[in-house]
């Protein structure tokens, strides 16, 4: 679908759920960067009585991204969160899963007036970053404190923690076996993860891409909104803390490093999870676990490029090689952290 047709489809989609939007016009369009697989725009729209801003997230037809997403599950969790008062998320105004208005999946939210949380972090002096990481800790804990039995039935629920962790370690082996070349980092990590299993944690809702870039600050004192739930699933809560650690190491500023003790104390206080379960060592372990899904997608994409597949002929497929190499660095550093902490005990 051509992007010039998106505003009209967005208004039609909105009108189907709320007559208030019938006849509305899009006055201004601003692209929002960030997602690799989907397009995001902010639209200023004029309704009969007023003007308002909405955000459209549209997945272009045929765009597979690096992780296969079940848009129905994403839609279900977004609807669940829209009426949930504990986890702060933008209000979902309408969605199109079957392609009735767009040719592919699309989600329309109320635009929030706050600033990107990452911008707030960048504008904050280093010695004050610690207080911002408490907001991040509370946001993570609010996600992980959701009762699994209340989550949408469409979300796959693992039988127990042991089975779940085993399935995640198996993903390393499966990813390696899918590749036409041997991938020693994957095989090394699979063995190491199995030999160094951490204490079990209660299974929980996991955001799946928990990072400050996916947060919106309403005001600097208040908890931030959490966006981009497409990778959400039921798993180990420390996956989000591991992924956050990885992203904080990659994209400055590193608000976790600004005051790790403050972050972990706050998270433990809100989530009720113990120090044995939540600590930098388990975050390092789950930094590795949390990145296998994206790693697998990127590896597939670059393998397809090597096979000269026409679908894979893109800059992104080549760029993924750099990201996978960087993930290798992060994995090896994580192993070192866990090993050193074990030795120091």
């Amino acid at each position: 679908m051509d992007i010039s047709a998106l505003p009209e489809a967005a208004i039609a989609c909105l009108s189907s759920t709320n007559k208030f939007y019938k006849g509305a016009k899009v006055l201004e369009i601003s692209p929002i960067s960030g997602g690799y697989s989907r397009l995001t725009f902010k639209y200023l729209i004029k309704t009969k009585n007023s003007t308002e801003e909405i955000v459209l997230q549209y997945v272009p037809l045929g765009a597979t991204g690096i992780v296969r997403i079940d848009r129905m599950v994403e839609n279900d969790i977004l609807n669940y969160l829209s009426v949930n008062e504990e986890v702060e998320t933008p209000t979902l105004l309408a969605s199109d899963i079957k392609g009735d208005f767009f040719d592919s999946a699309a989600f329309i939210y109320k635009a929030e007036t706050g600033r990107p949380f990452v911008d707030v972090c960048r504008d904050t002096q280093d010695d004050k970053l610690g207080s911002l990481n408490r907001i991040v800790a509370r946001s993570a804990a609010s996600v992980h404190s959701q009762e699994i039995k209340n989550l949408p039935a469409s979300m796959h629920s693992p039988r127990n923690w042991d089975d779940y962790l085993t399935s995640q370690i198996e993903l390393f082996k499966e990813t390696e076996s899918e590749s036409f070349n041997s991938r020693p980092f994957l095989r090394y990590m699979a063995k190491w993860l199995d030999e160094n299993r951490p204490p079990a944690a209660p299974l929980s809702l996991v955001h799946g891409d928990f990072q400050v870039s996916n947060m919106i600050s309403l005001n600097e004192e208040k908890d931030a909104l959490l966006v981009d739930w497409e990778l959400s699933h039921i798993g180990d809560p420390r996956e989000d803390l591991g992924w956050l650690t990885m992203v904080c190491n990659t994209i400055p500023p590193d608000i976790l490093a600004a005051d790790p003790k403050g972050f972990y104390d706050e998270y433990r206080a809100v989530s009720g999870l113990s120090k044995e379960i939540i600590n930098p060592e388990t975050s390092a372990y789950f930094l590795i676990i949390s990145s296998i899904r994206t790693h697998r997608g990127m590896m597939k994409s670059s393998d397809a490029l090597a096979k000269n597949s026409k679908q894979a002929q893109s800059v992104l497929a080549a760029y993924y090689l750099s990201i996978t190499s960087y993930q290798h660095t992060m994995w090896m550093n994580a192993v070192k952290i866990v090993e050193e902490m074990k030795r120091s005990r």
Binding site: G34, P184, R187, V315, S322, S325, Y326, H328
Partner: protein
Amino acid sequence: MIISPSISEILRGVTHEMGTSLKQGLSDPVKIAQIDTIIGVLSSCSVRSENEKEWMKQEIASILSVAKKFDLSHHSSNKLSEALKSFNDNESDERKYQLASNILSLMSDLGVAVGEELSSEVWSLMEQRLQHEAYIIGGGFEAAGRN
């Protein structure tokens, strides 16, 4: 055949222009991220074209040397011994690198059961490979459009 400037030098020139005059003319953050992505890819290609062959040979030699120690110890596996036996020095560098990578994977599969000395040798092989990969991505990593 014109071989000078080298592939690496050509790519450095191209990425320089993309990162300066071409990028400066853009205001759309999506387009800027795309340019950064292309620059990242071309920069990696530049390093690879300059060093890839040599680094592959270094890694192959190191892997085979450690694998022979495994084979001499009672810690080897049947698969590892077989892979070492079937390694053919007359293959292309790329093929030999793939075979050596498989040998490294097979050594990794054995984990800590092989004892501290051999497992630290496997760790060193992983670090050698990691060091080459780190050079290729320029020492660190900047997420295009995110930094």
